[in-house]
């Protein structure tokens, strides 16, 4: 019996928008892959690049950072900082040998349950295609 590779995905979701969106997907009984483990943060701006790097070091194949749409941040500007930070980190990780596709930054609002389910499915498939990340 062969064991298929199941990507390990960690998702950092902001409490006010994307976590609520994920919650909505759940309450609406929308299916999405179970590969993702969700960590709730107050704002996507809370996500330190160190969290992402530690995830990769400890075995994650992909990391999702999700927050409110720019302009809608519960704390007004947190996600503007997220945007800048992770634009740079994606490039840097790719340069160091972790494909930039393994770090996704998405804006998901509280009402976008469907979108959340779809993007997790899409991300998981992409990670399955990329294969397990090599140990860094």
């Amino acid at each position: 019996m062969s064991v298929e590779y199941q990507p390990k995905v960690v998702g950092f979701l902001c409490n006010w928008c994307s976590y609520a969106g994920a919650d909505m997907a759940g309450t609406s009984r929308m299916c999405y892959p179970e590969n993702i483990r969700i960590i709730r943060v107050p704002c996507s701006g809370r996500v330190d690049p160190l969290f992402v790097l530690k995830c990769f070091q400890r075995g994650a194949d992909g990391v999702l950072v999700s927050g409110c749409h720019p302009g809608d941040c519960h704390y007004t500007e947190g996600n503007y900082h997220t945007r800048r930070r992770f634009a740079l980190l994606r490039e840097f990780l790719d340069y160091l040998g972790i494909e930039k596709e393994r770090l996704r930054v998405e804006w998901v609002s509280a009402s976008e349950g469907q979108r959340f389910a779809e993007l997790v499915a899409d991300f998981t498939m992409e990670l399955a295609r990329l294969g397990p990340r090599s140990k860094i």
Binding site: L50, L88, E91, Y95, G97, R104, I136
Partner: protein
Amino acid sequence: MGQGAKSEMDMELIQQIRDKARNLLQEGTVEGVIGYERAGDGLTSRPFFAYDSSAVERLVFDETCTHNLVKYLLNKKGKRMAVVVKPCDSRAINLLLNEKQVERDRVFIIGVSCPGVVETNWSHKGETLQARCRSCQLTKPLVYDVLLGRETSRKAEEETYSDIREAEAESVATRREFWQEQFSRCIRCYACRQVCPGCYCPVCFAERLEPLWVGIRIAPEENTLWQTVRTFHLAGRCIGCNECERVCPVDIPLSLLNRKLEKDVKRLFAFQAGLDPEEPPPFATFKKEEMLEFEK
């Protein structure tokens, strides 16, 4: 230019530095002058702290003066110090002014128009200018209280980041292998951090126990996290003095990391560290309407 004319110019500059230092100490304007002296090999140089006018005779300045002396200002907070500063070092002063780590009126900046420095190791002096000097666009320090030496006639090469681009053109797997090999040699001496003017956290993330990010193990996995995060903490802050690469005892090519971020920060945020002490750094600010790559 003949060797004689060059060393004449050098002596003139050295005399100017000594005179200025003596003057500052005698008048009590500063408690100490941070400059360079001849190293033990009689050939290269090393940092030197002059606290009285007799000591200023030891001050020198030449193409072996590669050290960034600005870091030492962080050990001398509260004291009035003078420091000899090359154009690259002056960017470090601007960075520290911006981050409120240095009080402008407690530092007397002896600016030196530097034509570039060569690679140096103990008892070895290189022939050609360091790569960072060849592409240095500054002919004189950006900030100074006095400017000594003649403005350099060196023509700066353009910084094309060709080595970075070459690396970017390779496959992800090739790059991964390359960096794994480089980081496996790291012995976590932390010289890169200790020499860097941008690294001054009272407790470095690598020393933290809670949360435990790195730990004490000296192994490729931990080394990778150490190097990656230190570099990322300098994104938009590294002023390109390349001291980190110079001091590394196992020759890890750190400039390939720092300059990659420098290039991307320029491209994404139109920002370069240390040019203007008033300009907000790229990660302390944002533009509402910017659309970055991953959003397209």
